[in-house]
Each structure stands twice: as structure tokens, then as C-alpha cells.
Symmetry: C2
Subunit: 182 residues, 2 copies
């Protein structure tokens, strides 16, 4: 089942943060040799492909310290402990965009960086959104700006490297395929 | 330009590994408050969507310690310092699959986890591959198995959560869209 499995000899936890944990595992390789694996543990995340009544896609622009620049992404956020992904998805949609929905469909789930991290992103879709009557607060260290764009406008932002991340790139292909096949 | 920019007050490097560096930045937020950002520095990576003469997609199955399971992915690998991405892409294709090519087209580049990591994946496409006359060795701690699948077979593996990562999910949509629009 698990081809080329690597058995753990020892785990050294280097750092436990609010978002990531870094550990270095010593492992036995399939050929009996040993090696080290640098591993990031992450609680997982959600992202939402949301279409407005006008058929525009809902994005947020935010500064990403890891990249030292602001980029435009679909709404997303990390899972809280014990929280069901669809609850997180609704919460992030509401907090980041001011929209709500009673219809979220799971599109797929994927690991973002299986070579070193266990972060799993659950990706949802909705074309049934309505504005919240009362805005919900963002986290206190979170600053985002809503943008509603056509697929064509979004594809231009991708060419300009302003849309530049895996989940949003996937979302654009998903919408393109959906548009051309329905 | 960089909306909501966060200025660095201080950087604490926690760990410098072979693949990742973990640092915690203290930052000034747009509202003047301060916060901490846990950041993973990564050299970046490449991945290759490769089609054989029979139109099959070239995959590799490998064990991913971060996930504690083996999954099926398109060939990929991390950039060596100073190496051009298209050189890495060719090297990884040769090492992992035994195929070579003189035609690699850049499809797109995306950040895998912009919330905490700067890993940028450069994704290439080729439908011009031929078997290497002499196999090239993998890294000594790397074990992979070649699989050549139709798009339909690959989509079934995705449903079975055996294909389960962002770059490969993107690749399948890319090929589906390519097939339906050419």
C-alpha cells in the first residue's frame, strides 16, 4: 500500500508556533540506509471559489509577508482545531468578503507542498452568495480588500503575476473548464 | 503598489535546514500594531506535465514523509542554488522518469502556500519525450516508481485520493482543458 515507506527512528521538534510546527525526522529508507526529513506540520486550510449573481469571481487582495508583496487570491484561511472545513470556509468567506452563502460544494482537497509540509487545502465552490446584513470582523492582524472580477480580468492578473498562488490558479482553470463545458 | 505592506522590525532565524529555513518576523501592521509572522523560506521547485507518444501522462509514485503515505504526482523537484528552473525541470524529468525532452514550455508559476511559505513552483509542459539511452541516478535518499496513465485513469486516482497534491491537481485540469479546447 505505502510503497517505499520510510520508518521513523526519531522525531526532533524544533519549533511549535501558532501556525506551523517544524520537526526533523530521522528515517529508515527502503534500502535500509537512514536519512533526515525536514517536516512542517500545519492545521490545514480552506479556500472558496465564490461567484456573485453577476457571475463575477470574489477575490481578496492581501499582503503576504512570506512573499514580501501583496497578491490577489480567492478567500481562504486556516482551520481552527476541531473545526469542520465547511464551517471554516463559511467563516472565512464572511469575514474576508462580506458575503455569506447556504450552499458550499466541496470541489477537491489537495496538499500544497507534499515534499515538506502536510498542509491540506479544502476547496469549495458556491454561486449562491448574498451580502451579509452585518459585517463580521477580520482577525486583528488581518487586512484584506475585496475585489470582484470577471474570469478574463482574473486571467490578466495571473499574467501580470498579481494572481500567483496554487489554489487561485486551480480555481481559474476550474472556472474556465466549467464555463466551456456546461 | 504593495497594499497593506508589513514592515519588518526584527527577524529571528529559528532553523536553517537543507530544504527549509524557518524564521519568525516581527512586523508593523498597516494600523500601526505589531504582530509576528512564522515564515518558511524554500529554494523553489519545478514540476513537469509530460505526455508520451501514446498520449499517456507521466507520473511518479513516492512516499511523502510529511503525509506518512505514498502518493502519485507529476515529476517534480526542488531548485538547486543558482540553477535555472528549466534545467532543474529537465534534470528531474530524466532522473525520476527515464524520459528526456528538448522541448519544455513554461505553463505557469505559482506559490504553493503564500500564507507561510515562499515556495514558488515553476510548471512545465512537454508532449515531446523520448526514453533516455542511459538511465540517470536519483538522489541517494529518493525512491520513485514510474506510472504512465490516461487522463481518465488519473482522474480516478484523484477521486481515490491517491493523486492528492496541488501541482498535480492543476496539471489534470490543464490537460482536461487542453483536450476539450484544441
Amino acid at each position: 500500500m505505502n510503497k517505499f515507506e520510510e520508518k521513523t527512528i526519531d522525531t526532533e521538534v524544533i519549533y511549535k508556533g501558532k501556525i506551523v510546527q517544524l520537526q526533523v525526522d530521522s528515517v529508515t529508507l527502503p534500502d535500509g540506509q537512514t536519512s533526515k526529513r525536514e517536516l512542517i506540520k500545519h492545521p490545514g486550510a480552506v479556500a472558496v471559489i465564490a461567484l456573485t449573481d453577476e457571475g463575477k469571481i470574489v477575490f481578496v487582495e492581501q499582503y503576504r509577508k512570506a512573499l514580501e508583496k501583496s497578491i490577489v487570491e480567492i478567500p481562504a484561511g486556516k482551520l481552527e482545531t476541531g473545526e469542520k472545513p465547511e464551517i471554516t470556509a463559511l467563516r472565512e468567506l464572511e469575514e474576508e468578503t462580506g458575503y455569506t452563502t447556504d450552499q458550499l460544494k466541496l470541489v477537491t482537497s489537495f496538499y500544497t507542498s507534499p515534499g515538506f509540509a502536510d498542509e491540506l487545502v479544502h476547496l469549495y465552490f458556491t454561486d449562491q452568495v448574498k451580502p451579509l446584513e452585518q459585517k463580521v470582523d477580520l482577525d486583528e492582524d488581518e487586512f484584506v480588500e475585496l475585489q470582484e472580477l470577471t474570469l478574463q480580468e482574473a486571467e490578466q492578473l495571473a499574467l501580470d503575476q498579481k494572481i500567483h498562488d496554487a489554489k487561485t490558479a486551480f480555481a481559474l482553470l476550474y472556472l474556465k473548464l466549467r464555463g466551456e463545458t456546461r
